[in-house]
């Protein structure tokens, strides 16, 4: 479960990225976080992943309170999250399989478990036949699917996707969003940050709109139609 209550974030340069943000996401929900550039979407992601600490307010993510979180607890918070980025962030010199192994080794998973889990997630994203390929040998959509598979490796309760379709054409974008929806249906909470209105409107899911660091719209429906300030 994610809960942000009256959250403020002021950066050192004086930018007020979040201004009393309130947001609650229940376990198993699928939520689109939308808004124009500078609305605070990226800061929300950074707050949720422990990358920045809010100036004021309360933040709870999967049982971790992020306002007073100790530095050593942050890796354990991140193990409850699967994070996906627009630029995939795959290691170019490693194969798909080795990228997966790398992510699981980093959290100290035993080799036997690694093999089993990788096989499962690659099947889930439909890439079981491309394990030995290098990222360069895959299409953008496939690379993003590898990133999604990697995010699922440690069995997170929440997936946070930051503009996951920003580098993809509309067909591949829909494919990725459908995959994320399928993962959500398996019980994982999914938060997708995007500004792609058409894509959001193809799904009837909860849409949270941000502007100037606060929520200005929150509801199930069409982004810009019946979800607005």
């Amino acid at each position: 479960m994610i809960r942000l209550k009256n959250v403020y974030k002021e950066y050192r340069n004086g930018t007020h990225a979040l201004n009393g943000l309130n947001l609650e996401i229940q376990d198993g929900e699928f939520v689109f976080l939308v808004g124009p550039s500078g609305s605070g979407k990226s800061t929300v992601i950074k707050v949720l992943t422990g990358e920045v600490i809010p100036t004021e307010g309360q933040v709870m993510v999967n049982g971790f309170s992020l306002v007073n979180i100790a530095e050593w607890q942050i890796p354990y918070l991140r193990r409850t999250l699967g994070i996906i980025f627009q630029d995939f962030r795959l290691i170019e010199k490693k194969t798909v399989y080795d990228n997966m192994v790398f992510a699981m080794r980093a959290v100290g998973a035993p080799p036997r478990e690694i093999k089993k889990r990788i096989s499962y997630v690659l099947k889930l994203v439909g890439l079981e036949n491309k394990q030995s390929r290098l990222p360069d040998e895959l299409s953008g959509g496939e690379q993003q699917r590898v990133a999604i598979a990697r995010a699922l490796l440690n069995n997170p309760s929440t997936i946070i996707a930051d503009e996951p379709t920003g580098n993809l054409d509309p067909a591949r974008s829909l494919e990725i969003m459908t995959l994320l929806k399928r993962i959500n249906e398996l019980g994982t909470t999914v938060l997708v940050v995007t500004h792609e209105k058409d894509l959001v409107n193809r799904f009837s899911e909860r849409v949270v709109m941000l502007e100037k660091g606060r929520v200005i719209g929150d509801g199930v429906g069409k982004y810009g139609v019946n979800v607005h300030a």
């Binding site: 992943t49 991140r78 193990r79 962030r89 290691i91 790398f102 959290v107 035993p110």
Partner: protein, 301 residues
């Protein structure tokens, strides 16, 4: 309660494989780092071994426990022999043995029997002398002064200056080695730290991914520490082999030369264990110290 990730054998293998791989990836920097560490260890080792041998020579001189008392040249052989009683009355003298100038010449010539230049030496250039054995070597200075006060004794050679020379040599070796070790130690740590920083820079994307998936700080740090450790161990091994060769070459040269006959050489077989352990310890401290220094500055995780 803080969760602790227990490091298992898979992790340790992973850390060392990653460390080794990084070391080879930055071949030139690793070579420079190992090279400077080898230099540091060799200088430390060489000066320490000079000090060890100076100490051994001092110990040998102390064991001999003898001084030479030279008789005034104006005294006849009989008058010289008569001094024996007076010498035995001096405190701390255990025994004395008279050596005439003829005997002294013969002993000297015997050392150079192959050189015709020394065969025709006139015994008159030597002095009658007594070999005086002492009871307590620590009273050498006082005993020497008392012997010098005996009428008819012109000079006393007590190895005192020789001993002082070796003590000075040992002290200089210690001071120089400490100064050089301090400088080279810092240089070694600095170069190893820079090599690790390069590794860190190369692997910044991997580190970002590790952080993103929830790797702990220590898990991220260990491969860098292993890299520094491996460089330190490799440097220690190379330095040990070089030190062995250098020591063997120098000692064989010294042993075969009469000029250095007084020097007591400690065989390498007696000290290799201490040398190896010291090098290993210093190498590990330099390597791991360099890594930690780099991590502290550049790996804020």
């Amino acid at each position: 309660m803080r969760k602790v990730h227990n490091v298992n054998s898979h992790d340790i293998r992973y850390f060392f494989v990653e460390g080794l791989s990084s070391m080879f990836t930055h071949g030139f920097m690793s070579f420079a780092a190992i090279g400077i560490t080898v230099a540091c260890l060799l200088i430390m080792g060489t000066f320490s071994l000079v000090a060890v041998n100076a100490n051994a020579t001092l110990a040998k001189l102390e064991q001999e426990n003898q001084v030479l008392a030279f008789v005034d040249e104006s005294l006849t052989e009989q008058q010289a022999r008569n001094l024996e009683r007076k010498l035995l009355q001096v405190d701390n003298v255990a025994s004395v043995e008279f050596i005439s100038r003829e005997e002294a010449k013969d002993a000297y010539v015997a050392q150079y029997e192959d050189d015709p230049l020394f065969q025709t030496l006139d015994p008159a250039i030597f002095r009658h002398r007594f070999v005086v054995n002492l009871v307590d070597l620590s009273l050498m200075r006082e005993t020497k002064a008392a012997l010098e006060r005996v009428d008819g004794i012109a000079d006393v050679n007590a190895y005192e200056e020789l001993s002082d020379g070796f003590i000075t040599l040992r002290n200089i070796a210690a001071v120089i080695s400490m100064a050089l070790i301090a400088v080279l130690f810092l240089v070694s740590v600095f170069i190893i730290a820079n090599t690790i920083k390069l590794t860190f820079f190369d692997r910044r994307e991997e580190i970002a991914i590790m952080k993103m998936v929830g790797a702990t700080d220590s898990f991220i740090r260990w491969p860098f520490v292993c890299e520094g450790f491996l460089m330190g161990v490799l440097a220690a091994l190379i330095a040990f082999l070089l030190q062995w060769g250098l020591y063997s070459a120098i000692t064989s040269g010294v042993s075969g030369n009469d000029i250095f006959a007084i020097i007591q050489i400690v065989p390498f077989s007696q000290i290799w264990g201490a040398v190896a352990l010291t090098f290993l310890g210093a190498g590990v401290v330099i390597g791991v110290g360099g890594s930690l220094s780099a991590i502290r500055q550049y790996l804020k995780v």
